[in-house]
């Protein structure tokens, strides 16, 4: 089995936000929740870079470690998923997540949190693959259909890469060697405890 990862090539991202839109549409993500967002660093200054960020599906995921009801699990592909049936909306995964991935719909008074929602790597949830129950809670299960996450698949500049971690790291390395520069694989050291040395 491959260990799937995300990689955003900051030197290619043009902040078109198509990945954000594609994600919301493909997964029918509720209003107010963004599983993926594009952050622009040094906006308007020389050397500005935009990074598309969602759940990085960390190795030894912090969200999974701190969850008081143990609702997270890692699939054989390395995708970090969670059960909305078990989640109690305590917010701890959000404190622990280095990437701000967990999101909570507001369901009551004073910002009380509903069931947590986050990027599933378009891999659905613990329900049976490609069922309506799975789609309603977690969105699409493209992995079960043999497809990659939509955000990366339709990225116009191919800045956002998804797939086997080793293959996308190789693609990124080749790019950096060819063009002579690269601002790095953002978040990799934090998520996977390894960068990409070129």
């Amino acid at each position: 089995m491959a260990r799937v990862k995300f990689l955003c090539d900051g030197d290619r991202c043009i902040e078109c936000n198509a990945c954000v839109t594609a994600c919301k549409n493909e997964n029918e993500v509720p209003w107010g929740i963004n599983r993926r967002r594009v952050v622009t660093i040094n906006d308007g200054k020389p050397g500005e870079r935009s990074i598309s960020m969602a759940c990085m599906h960390c190795t030894d995921a912090p969200c999974k470690a701190v969850c008081p009801v143990d609702c997270f699990f890692t699939t054989a592909d390395g995708v970090v998923l969670h059960s909305k049936d078990l989640c109690i909306g305590c917010g701890y995964c959000f404190y622990a997540c280095p990437f701000g991935a967990p999101q909570y719909p507001r369901v009551g008074n004073f910002g009380s949190r509903g069931k947590m929602d986050k990027c599933t790597y378009c891999a659905g949830g613990p329900e049976a693959d490609l069922t309506m129950a799975e789609y309603e809670k977690y969105g699409a299960n493209r992995l079960a259909e043999g497809k990659l996450p939509l955000c990366a698949e339709m990225c116009s500049t191919k800045a956002l890469l998804a797939g086997d971690g080793e293959i996308i790291a190789q693609i990124y390395k080749e790019r950096v060697v060819k063009r002579g520069y690269g601002s790095g694989a953002w978040g990799w050291k934090t998520a996977y405890r390894e960068g990409i040395d070129v």
């Binding site: 030197d11 660093i41 050397g47 870079r49 009801v69 078990l86 622990a96």
Partner: protein, 340 residues
Amino acid sequence: MTRGGFGRRIAVAAFVALFSVCLAMTLAPRAGWAQQARQGVNPTAQAVKEEQLLKELDRVTGRVSIPDSKAGTLIQPEGREWRAYHERTLHWIGGIAILGMLAVLALFYSVRGKIRIEHGWAGVKIMRFTTFERFVHWLTASSFIVLALSGLNVVFGKVLLLPLVGSDAFAVFSQWAKYAHNYLSFAFAAGIVLTFVIWVTENIPNRTDIAWAKQGGGILGHAHPPAGKFNGGQKLIFWSVVLVGAAIAASGYVLMFPFYGTNIADMQVAQIIHGVLGVLMIAVILAHIYIGTLGMEGAFDAMGTGEVDLNWAKEHHSLWVEEEMSKARAAGGGAAVPAE
């Protein structure tokens, strides 16, 4: 040749001169760039780098075009430190504080046993706490017990309870525990405020407490150092409940109202304060419960019926009894015992 032809020639000459100056001006720097490019200059030399940003600020933030401005934090590696605190440090602090306190109390009980009323029951009662005072105490106490158990469930539940009941039952229980924790916090906070209001004047430390503390409060020996309505130990309980309780409530409300003037880092700090003070307060309250029930004969009546045995009161709160007696004498003339 006409005058017009001469004029045109001058115009052409001027145009040529101007054009060559312009050309020279545009070409010069371009030649420079070409030279630089040949030397292999990185066109993105100024580009931001993750490593450098994390070194400077320990988090990476930027601008987002979605309305959710907090999504502008791209990477916050402190999440890992908070995780280490929550999964290791807090378990150790909580385990040592609570189990340590239970061990100390068990040891104390085996050595000292139940502290008896030395002169036996007098059979005469004296009013110690009014109905309202007892209401405030039990409001705070009952909400605290639920808050403590549901809080401990968040810290230790998945280690202790989850393997016993299974994940579905545990999730349902934890969901209700969370609701109880959130909503009963208001009862607890109200209890803290009322506790402060009704008892603060009798809990201001004074010289009696120093003498009381010097004799170890009579806890280990059989001495009965004089004390007012509240002795030094009770004053310590009072102030820890009021101050620690207020800090726990305040940090809890920070967590309950996410992003109301706070960010992730603030909430991590609030959670650390809330968790550590919470387990410490549980340990303190265990001692309070022990001495009020199992540890001392006659003590529970104070918060039970509100009336305590006169001999108990004379032994543990001599100054308070004297005060009550003189008050009663002044008011009723001879009625030394206010309640029977």
